[in-house]
């Protein structure tokens, strides 16, 4: 990849695509070309219009204005099935698998192979095995999808798109749950596909990673295309500059102050796998964090980071060990009591564990603190409102106000609500589990600023991430986790390669 190529005629062209939602223009006349055998990467912040454009190209939505040309012929896709019949497949960011049925049945869901009236299970199984092998997955096609890890499920989604044998494959954040090894497998598959002449449209927030597969880069900002260039003419800085319109730096860890006393002492903590009680997801792990210190836990998917943080927060039972805060041991406290004693967790999956979709922005952000506004029998509305407004301003949520529905916010702002909810309870220790997953560079910088600012005022932060760059920009200390243990510990002068090597991850790019 990344080689200069003769692009030839585009297989799919969008001409002057306009999409209005009510009075708002999501796309303002975008021209977009996809070439056979080429990876076209679409860069842009949340809300720039990337997903809207992909939804139009894959038939999920209809453009307000503009035309789509397939092989030079104008086409209109009635729906996704219509687009699929024209050879266009999309892998959505959110998984669209049925967790209750097997891998094989998921792979062929909606387009089962027939033999007479019956489904040809034997042939489906055979081809399933082939495609799984192609993806380097050692998964039995009969396994129920819900038993797979998130990363494996994402690969199943990709396998399904491969089976459709599309000419154009759209991948919207395909790597968000993949480990570095799995990403490598995916990139190899992308390579194979482009070799066969398949056109790929790739969307990712993970810029460095996306750059590796990109042949053509297209940057969207506020519904317009701001830049377009072949991969060998661009670099990270170029992409970020066109995405946000200015030079962007995530900064370095906050400094110029002394750490306080010990805030959190994790002592030989073990967490058992609920499915196999003998297997330890976290194995006698110890970690001490001082007030004002930001400790990054780096590790691959499945290293046990989430399990560790959930156990410390009281979400999972401990199989052994003790957790102590400054005021005393909290090992036997409930999640609620741990929160009250100043230990808060910002969960990894904000849709599943962070937000209440039926509540407003204000109600969401004040949920954890609501019991402190009680006056007599009732919640004091004045206090609740003041708290919500203050928290919204504090974490700089961009919203129409506390009464706006939570679904009206972009991913980054939703994440800020989840963080603001915990931070506004005045914690002493903050556990952040992949807080920047699926949010754009601008929001990421704001999250970093918030964390740094709180650390200066004495908050102890444990920050779990699978992005090496983040560790170096925020952490005072970096610990690397693998198979439930800490395998290395670094200060911020370490290089990315050293961290990745310590995690057992293959060095993707030297």
């Amino acid at each position: 990849m990344n080689a200069a190529q003769q692009l030839g005629a585009p297989v799919l062209s969008a001409r002057h695509i306009v999409k209005n939602y009510g009075g708002v223009r999501a796309l303002k006349g975008v021209d977009f070309d996809v070439y056979p055998g080429t990876v076209t990467t679409l860069f842009g912040e949340n809300g720039a219009g990337k997903s809207t454009l992909m939804k139009i190209l894959s038939g999920v939505e209809q453009p307000t204005d503009g035309t789509i040309l397939l092989d030079g012929q104008e086409v209109v896709f009635a729906d996704t099935n219509d687009a699929r019949d024209h050879g266009i497949s999309i892998i959505h960011q959110e998984l669209s698998l049925s967790p209750n049925i097997s891998v094989r049945d998921n792979l062929y869901m909606g387009r089962e192979l027939r033999r007479g009236l019956a489904v040809d299970y034997r042939e489906q199984e055979k081809r399933s095995r082939e495609v799984l092998a192609e993806l380097g997955l050692d998964i039995d096609p009969h396994v129920i999808v819900s038993e797979l890890r998130l990363g494996e499920q994402q690969l199943i989604e990709i396998a399904r798109a491969l089976l459709a044998e599309s000419r154009i494959l759209i991948m919207d954040e395909p790597t968000s749950a993949l480990s570095a090894n799995e990403v490598e497998i995916l990139f190899r598959v992308i390579d194979d596909l482009t070799g066969k002449g398949v056109a790929i449209v790739y969307i990712s927030h993970h810029l460095e990673e996306a750059l590796q597969v990109t042949d053509q880069a297209v940057v969207l900002r506020d519904g317009s295309m701001t830049a377009k260039a072949p991969a060998d003419e661009i670099d990270l800085e170029w992409i970020v500059r066109h995405m946000v319109g200015e030079n962007f730096d995530l900064g370095s860890p906050p400094d110029g102050y002394e750490f306080g006393p010990l805030a959190l002492d994790i002592d030989a903590v073990s967490v058992a796998d609920p499915k196999e009680p003998d297997r330890m997801l976290v194995d006698r792990l110890s970690l001490k964090v001082q007030e004002g210190e930001i400790v990054c836990i780096y590790g691959l998917m499945g290293a046990g980071r989430t399990e560790l943080l959930e156990a410390v927060a009281g979400r999972r039972p401990l199989a052994g060990g003790r957790v102590t805060m400054r005021k005393g041991e909290i090992t036997n406290l409930s999640l609620r009591d741990r929160l009250a004693s100043g230990l808060g967790l910002v969960p990894e999956d904000r849709q599943r564990d962070g937000l209440v979709p039926t509540l407003s922005v204000g109600r969401n952000i004040s949920l954890a603190a609501v019991s402190t506004f009680v006056r007599g029998l009732f919640v004091s509305r004045a206090k609740e409102r003041a708290h919500a407004d203050e928290a919204i301003a504090d974490v700089t949520v961009k919203t129409d106000g506390a009464g706006a529905p939570i679904g009206s916010l972009s991913g980054g702002n939703q994440q800020k609500v989840v963080i603001g909810k915990i931070v506004s309870t005045g914690p002493k220790v903050l556990l952040l589990d992949e807080p920047t997953r699926g949010i754009d560079v601008g929001a990421k910088a704001e999250v970093f600023r918030l964390v740094a600012q709180r650390a200066r005022t004495g908050l102890a932060v444990v920050y779990s991430t699978s992005e090496v760059g983040e560790c170096l920009s925020i952490a005072h200390r970096i610990v690397v986790m693998s198979r439930g243990r800490i395998v290395a510990e670094f200060d911020p002068s370490v290089t990315k390669e050293e961290i990745m090597a310590a995690s057992g991850e293959a060095v993707v790019e030297a």
Binding site: G22, V356, L367, G438
Partner: protein
């Protein structure tokens, strides 16, 4: 870029269009339509003050039952045992008025003790439901289905299926006055209706103004997120079932008093009527949405429809068909409303007729207060 990140740009409703208003106010409009139609069909019988009072009295039992059901449904559960609980509480009240034989003497508790015993029975059934669901992780449908049979069986066991008829008590025993609940009026309005008003106000305040209400809306919308925010989710669920049990018991006491007899089969299938009222009132069976005002309207729609059809002489079988159609229509409209609400631009009021966002930051799901009524 997540799917939800896109929603801010969808604006099918600029402000609140007529269609959206009709959708928001559908339960109220349905009630209005029912009232107008039957007033035209039976001008001398339906819209009279005495008939309205009688209808309200009939509705009050269902309404109280439905408010308890609402609390459970908002938690994302369901309580199929409330009809049986109503029956058992009525039996407890009826038997208590007959006195308890203790060591050769018969102890006749005063009426207020009788009422407390009945309500405590309901609370106990609710507690068992709550523990089964929230602590022992039995699916709400199954747990309360089982309890529906158990409690009904217990109600029948108390008298071997017989009805207790003499509920008036004797002045010399100091246990008269039970009928007051079912027969007397204050300011021309039956006591049962007053109790419905009190229960509604209390529930409305509970849901909209207390921490418990906040927690209930939150965990009904996303239990995992609520738990991580420090909401004591199991405790909130247990209390929801206790509230449903207490409401069922109150309804049982009123019904027993109105009928002047306690029958063990009282309230059979009332749980389904209660669920229907909650659904017509706009609550989602998924939990997290709903309000007392809607549920009350739902109960009145069902009650007035049944009463009106009876007055104009339509058979009970046809009534059943009508009621069923109304329920299906309500669920259909709930779905349409949910979809349009998801697509509404941010900041647009999700409920009420006003075009400005609710002043105090309340959201669509919890516009459940009296002040909200006053505003629109």
């Amino acid at each position: 870029m997540s799917h939800t990140a896109l929603s801010p740009r969808r604006r099918p409703f600029q402000g609140l269009t007529l269609g959206a208003f009709l959708l928001e106010a559908r339960a109220f409009l349905a009630l209005l339509v029912i009232f107008v139609i039957f007033s035209i069909l039976a001008p001398t019988a339906f819209p009279t003050l005495s008939n309205i009072i009688v209808m309200c009295q009939q509705v009050s039992v269902y309404a109280i039952l439905a408010i308890g059901m609402l609390v459970v449904i908002m938690d994302g559960g369901i309580d199929l045992s409330v009809g049986s609980t109503l029956g058992l509480s009525g039996m407890v009240a009826g038997l208590a008025l007959q006195g308890f034989p203790i060591g050769g003497v018969i102890l006749y508790p005063p009426v207020w003790v009788v009422v407390i015993l009945a309500v405590a029975t309901g609370a106990l059934v609710g507690l068992i439901n709550g523990v089964l669901v929230a602590r022992l992780k039995v699916a709400p449908f199954v747990a309360t289905l089982g309890m529906m049979y158990v409690v009904r069986g217990l109600a029948q066991l108390t008298t071997n299926g017989l009805t207790v008829n003499n509920l008036s008590g004797k002045p010399e025993l100091g246990n008269t006055g039970f009928e007051w609940l079912g027969f007397n009026s204050i300011l021309g309005i039956p006591v049962g209706v007053w109790i419905m008003v009190i229960v509604s106000l209390a529930a409305s305040l509970l849901l909209s103004r207390t921490v418990y209400g906040r927690w209930l809306y939150a965990q009904g919308g996303n239990r995992r997120a609520a738990e991580l925010s420090g909401v004591p989710v199991r405790k909130v669920s247990v209390r929801a079932y206790v509230i449903a049990g207490v409401c069922a018991a109150i309804a049982g006491v009123i019904l027993t008093s109105e009928l002047t007899s306690a029958g063990p089969t009282q309230g059979t299938s009332y749980e389904l009527t209660a669920i229907a009222a909650v659904v017509i009132g706009g609550a989602s069976l998924m939990g997290g949405t709903g309000n007392v005002r809607g549920t009350l309207l739902g109960a009145f729609v069902i009650g007035f429809l049944a009463a009106g059809l009876t007055i104009v002489g339509i058979s009970a079988y046809v009534q059943t068909v009508f009621t069923g159609a109304v329920i299906v229509l309500a669920v259909l409209l709930n779905g349409i409303q949910l979809r349009s609400r998801r697509q509404r631009k941010p900041g647009t009021p999700a409920a009420g007729g006003a075009s400005a966002p609710p002043a105090d930051g309340v959201d669509a799901a919890s516009t459940d207060s009296i002040t909200e009524n006053a505003r629109s």
